[in-house]
């Protein structure tokens, strides 16, 4: 029965092909060839992106001698979890993960709530000099933080509010190394890529119809209440994705962390120091100055990187929609 149907279908295909003078066949072959090409291309590129992660996973389970063995490429000959133990010890893993979680989470919440206020202000109110201030936002996006890093460094090293502290204690406060400066900067929308968040949130609020807000005003809602009750619930997708970005970028950020949070153990800073800590660990172990071998450094480094990636990766797996979909649907326009 099915064969007959298939045959009929088949014959009708050839018949249709004959009627269209070979056009149908040509088109079908073309589309199949395109599909195959696309598959190969995408597969190759996906592999290229994922390969370093796979490589790190396999290296992290290897002993050092496996790395020197040309026979061993992906599957370790001497399976070990020693690398994880050592890397965790070197990075003070549990402590720095907790620190990083707390810092990234609070910073992300602070940044996004402030950026939402500012973005809403830019999108929905008319006030004098609005264009000028928005140009300032664009400038914040454009100026690399490195340009002002020197001065910020000094600013917080000799921190003072209008000379009050100097008058009282005779000395300014050295805020470098504490967490406070970074929170202050985040509260002022000057954290990592905050201009970008303001821009995206403003873009989102601009697309919400004006009538919604006007109806709320007519019904006697105040400005703040309208914002909290009407606008915020609508903006959940863009806020989620901004929050996720803020969290993740803060998690891996090295620049601000090194500049301001030097004394707080964060995963990002301890990862960038892991080679040095390995050297000093070996020195303590053996009593003499030794430079760790290339293989060992690689083992530890890929294990450390992996251990830092894993929490973010889990977050990404669960919140993938939050990252990608809301961004591509809301649309970023100039």
């Amino acid at each position: 029965m099915t064969k007959a149907v298939a045959k009929q279908k088949n014959s009708s295909f050839w018949e249709r092909n004959r009627k269209s003078e070979g056009y149908l066949l040509k088109k079908t072959i073309m589309s199949i060839a395109l599909k195959i090409c696309r598959f190969i291309l995408l597969f190759g590129m996906c592999f290229m992106i994922l390969q370093p992660i796979f490589n790190k996973i396999s290296v992290s389970f290897m002993e050092e001698r496996d790395l020197y063995n040309p026979m061993v490429i992906a599957i370790p000959e001497h399976f070990t979890t020693e690398n994880y133990r050592l890397a965790a010890e070197l990075m003070a893993y549990s402590k720095s993960v907790v620190n990083s979680l707390v810092v990234s989470f609070t910073i992300a919440v602070l940044q996004i709530s402030v950026c939402t206020l500012v973005g809403y202000g830019f999108a929905r109110f008319n006030f004098p000099l609005k264009k000028f201030w928005f140009a300032c936002v664009l400038m914040v996006v454009l100026v690399p933080p490195q340009t002002i890093s020197t001065s910020l460094h000094l600013h917080f090293r000799f921190f003072d509010v209008l000379g009050i502290f100097k008058a009282v204690t005779g000395n300014s406060i050295n805020l470098r190394g504490s967490v406070l400066p970074y929170y202050l900067m985040s509260a002022g929308c000057m954290g990592l890529k905050n201009g970008l968040y303001i821009y995206m949130i403003r873009q989102f609020f601009r697309n919400i119809p004006m009538e919604l807000e006007e109806a709320a005003y007519v019904d006697g809602c105040g400005t703040l209440k309208t914002f909290l009750r009407i606008m915020l619930p609508d903006a959940t997708p863009i806020l989620t994705s901004c929050f996720l970005f803020s969290f993740v970028w803060q998690w891996t950020d090295g620049f601000y962390s090194k500049l301001f949070l030097g004394n707080v153990r964060l995963v990002s800073t301890s990862l960038s120091r892991i080679v040095d800590s390995l050297a000093s660990y070996l020195q303590r172990l053996q009593g003499t100055t030794v430079t760790p071998t290339v293989g060992l450094v690689d083992c530890i480094m890929s294990t450390g990187t992996l251990m830092i990636i894993i929490p973010v990766l889990i977050l990404y797996l669960f919140a993938q929609r939050g990252f990608v979909e809301s961004l591509s649907s809301s649309g970023i326009k100039m």
Binding site: R38, L42, M45, C46, M48, I49, L50, P52, V118, Y120, G121, R124, F125, N126, F127, W133, M139, L142, V143, P144, Q146, T147, I148, S149, S151, L152, H153, L154, H155, F158, N171, L184, M185, G188, C189, M190, I198, T223, V248, W249, W251, T252, D253, K258, S268, S272, V294, G295, D298, T305, L313, Y316, F323, V324, L327, S328, G331, I332, K333, M334
Partner: protein, 302 residues
């Protein structure tokens, strides 16, 4: 009549005040953490900064730091030219790559969500410190050497490269292309956001436009250039600016590394400010000039 007008003005004023209250965090932050450090670092770049116990004191030195950056420091000019040329080539490659990938990912096929997720993965995984570690991965280099030894140095790409090199025509151009191809991993991992921006642009183009073109006998190739390209040309501008800025902030940028080293280890604030300003001015000039030319070609539909 007059009273009513006043009332309206009052409402507008109230709204203006509310607007200012909403953006006040930004204004405060901008003035304190942006404007002040911005001009301070400009000033410091003309000075030698003496750091004392309780304070710091800039001493005016004129153009000394700038002269030092260009004429005395052995590394800076080399790093600067290297980074700027890398920025130009890489940004161009990123634009082409992300546009191409966005075109593919906009089509309908099985597993599209998975592929999108994978392409977007580098945005979160290869940011910040992880990127810096990735670049000097000596193990990968070792593996590469091992593979090359085993395959006696012959692969299809190498053969093609050799043929093109000995062809004698446009060798310099080919070298640049080879460089980009060798660098394809770096380009792929730094084009996540750009792909998303292009995708969001592609989704705003209405399908009726393609249908109309199709009925009129327009091939896919023609409609790519006549419809898709103009419709998302504004995205090219956004992406171009974003790519360059993103490139400046990457942690594996050697100029930035040099600046941080001078600032944190040698505690030479004046010199490091001067270097940052040189770099910043070059980048801004580049962004300004190129986006001026790109914006001339941008087509706005509405």
């Amino acid at each position: 009549m007059k009273k009513q007008k006043n009332k309206l003005a009052g409402l507008q004023r109230r709204k203006a005040i509310a607007g200012y209250i909403f953006i006040s965090p930004f204004i405060v932050g901008f003035l304190v953490f942006m404007v002040k450090p911005f001009f301070q670092s400009l000033y410091m770049s003309f000075c030698t900064v003496e750091v004392g116990a309780g304070n710091f004191e800039p001493i005016w030195k004129g153009l000394d730091n700038y002269i030092r950056a260009f004429r005395i420091d052995p590394e800076f000019t080399r790093l600067l030219t290297e980074e700027v040329s890398r920025m130009v080539i890489d940004s161009l490659a990123i634009m082409v790559f992300s546009f191409f990938v966005a075109l593919i990912l906009n089509q309908k096929f099985k597993g599209r969500a998975l592929v999108r997720a994978i392409f977007f993965l580098p945005v979160i995984l290869s940011s910040g410190v992880i990127l810096g570690l990735e670049t000097d991965n000596s193990l990968m280099a070792q593996v590469q050497v091992a593979i090359e030894e085993n395959t006696t140095g012959m692969s299809i790409t190498a053969a093609v490269e050799n043929i093109l090199r000995t062809a004698g025509v446009g060798v310099r151009a080919f070298e640049t292309v080879f460089e980009i191809i060798d660098n394809i991993y770096n380009i792929a991992i730094s084009s996540g956001i750009q792909i998303i921006i292009f995708l969001s642009g592609l989704q705003t183009i209405s399908t009726s436009m393609y249908e109309a073109a199709d009925i009129e006998g327009c091939t896919k190739w023609e409609s790519l250039w006549k419809i898709t390209f103009p419709m998302i040309s504004s995205m090219f501008l956004v992406n171009w600016i974003y790519t360059i800025i993103d490139f400046c902030m990457r942690s594996d940028n050697e100029v930035i590394e040099k600046i941080t080293k001078v600032m944190v280890e040698q505690i030479n604030y004046g010199f490091s400010s001067a270097m940052t300003w040189i770099y910043f001015l070059i980048v801004i000039a580049f962004v300004g000039i190129t986006s001026f030319f790109i914006s001339k070609g941008v087509y706005y539909y509405d």
